[in-house]
């Protein structure tokens, strides 16, 4: 299949950057989207041109490394998948595909389609862990956790930190990511000891990093590869208010 790519090229953080056009003629429907980009890069190498920089690692939807804005959607036209889970069969022969990096003040472009997501790491550093060393795994039945609680903690824990929520949000809000990390631990007995400190410090860091406020457009939960529900954000708000009141 023949695809016309319109891809964001940017030398480095200081460069202005621009959309550049590439036409690839010999793609197949079976190729993943990232393989199509690999294929394009191979052609660029043969032409002695600079290859397109993009992030990827596991290529099976679990690591959260890949992530680009494809035709106006985070991770492409299909809901709740990562970029590496997108295949060329989702497009038609002759299509034009726009590929842009995540856009957010807190995610500065490093090069081409790669952005710096270390703002997420700094949010994590502000409490998305349990600070006591608990030694080896305890006996499983010593600490009973109701099924529903375990499920909701696991649902929140499945966030892979890809940044699609921030990318698609018109306010570049990191509320979905931060709330997932907070609720994951605050729902479990192990996380309870530090619950107030955790929610206060992580949400404060979210503001310091320059992410915007959540206005509940709901775009994030449609693009999230892990189906993290927006209800997590409401829960984070409840936890933050509780922490403020109880100290």
């Amino acid at each position: 299949m023949k695809i016309k790519f319109k891809i964001w090229r940017q030398e480095g953080p200081e460069d202005k950057g621009a959309i550049k056009e590439y036409t690839v003629n010999d793609l197949t429907e079976e190729m993943s989207f990232l393989e199509a980009l690999d294929h394009l890069n191979e052609q660029l190498v043969l032409k002695n041109e600079e290859v397109i920089a993009f992030e990827h690692d596991c290529r099976e939807g679990i690591c959260g490394q890949c992530g680009v804005f494809i035709n106006g959607r985070a991770h492409g036209p299909i809901n709740n998948i990562t970029t590496c889970q997108l295949h060329m069969r989702s497009f038609n022969d002759g299509d034009t595909i726009f590929v842009e990096p995540w856009r957010a003040k807190s995610f500065p472009v490093i090069k081409d389609l790669i952005v710096d997501r270390s703002a997420f790491d700094r949010i994590i550093e502000h409490g998305a862990f349990i600070s006591t060393n608990t030694g080896s795994a305890p006996e499983a039945n010593a600490l009973p956790i109701p099924k529903a609680v375990a499920e909701s903690a696991m649902d929140a824990a499945s966030c892979i930190g890809c940044g699609a929520c921030v990318a698609t949000c018109k306010n570049s809000s990191a509320a979905l990511f931060t709330s997932a990390k907070i609720n994951h631990l605050n729902n479990l007995p192990q996380g309870k000891a530090e619950e107030h400190k955790r929610v206060e410090e992580m949400t404060a860091q979210m503001d310091i990093e320059g992410f915007g406020s959540c206005t509940f457009t709901g775009a994030c939960e449609v693009e999230c590869p892990e189906n993290i529900s927006i209800v997590n954000i409401a829960e984070m708000h409840a936890r933050l208010m509780k922490a403020k009141i109880l100290g």
């Binding site: 842009e100 809000s173 936890r239």
Partner: protein, 220 residues
């Protein structure tokens, strides 16, 4: 600390208060659909009662404060949110993952603010501030607010203006009502599903109600 969240809390609380106010306002407007003689007596008695009540006076200050706070903090939030996304996408298909109204609450809000300014100039300024044409008394000695309303809605352009702007109001309320609860930390999943339906019904009743009454009065 948490300045952005506190702003959102104020937006949610003032918004919810305005949602309550709209129910009372629309209920009163329904008096206008009665036959002329009845409507005049009912509407004028109602508005006189409101003007003379100390309780309503206190509520009215809450109302002014809510409108001002809602506009001011919406402005601050919008400015700071725009700063968080300095560079826009060349292609962005927001219609595929969210509603148009949720993406454009600011724009819709400006339309509603424009409406509020005109609406206050039409009624509040004349009746409460005594600006413009004098409001006459009806035969019971009450200010003839019914006449103010009736004469305004004999003007075709005002009918169009009032009816059309009920539409953005509906869009704003549909997104705003359910979101206010989420901002305030209501996170019961089933409850939120129900709330989404309640928001839709509420927005429909309010916008259709406010949109139809000027047309009904025009053809009276």
């Amino acid at each position: 600390m948490h300045l952005k969240f506190i702003r959102k809390l104020i937006l949610a609380l003032s918004g919810l208060f305005l949602c309550l106010f709209l129910i009372v306002h629309l209920s009163a407007n329904c008096l206008l659909i009665f036959p002329e003689a009845t409507a005049r007596v009912l509407y004028n008695t109602y508005s006189t009662t409101l003007r003379e009540s100390t309780f309503i006076k206190v509520i009215s200050y809450f109302l002014y404060a809510s409108i001002i706070l809602h506009v001011w903090y919406a402005l601050l939030t919008t400015i700071s949110n725009r700063k968080s996304k300095p560079q826009k996408y060349v292609v962005n298909r927001t219609n595929e993952n969210s509603t148009w109204s949720s993406q454009n609450m600011g724009l819709i809000g400006i339309l509603i603010l424009l409406f509020i300014v005109v609406h206050l100039a039409n009624f509040w300024a004349r009746i409460k501030l005594g600006l413009g044409e004098e409001v006459l008394l009806d035969k019971h000695g009450n200010k003839d607010v019914y006449e103010v309303t009736y004469s305004l809605f004999q003007n075709f352009y005002f009918v169009i203006f009032y009816s059309l702007l009920a539409f953005p109001l509906g869009l704003h309320l549909h997104h705003g009502l359910k979101s206010a609860f989420k901002t305030l930390g209501f996170y019961h999943k089933k409850g939120l599903e129900l709330l989404a339906k309640v928001s839709l019904i509420y927005a429909l009743i309010i916008s259709v109600g406010f949109g139809l009454i000027p047309i009904i009065v025009y053809f009276k």
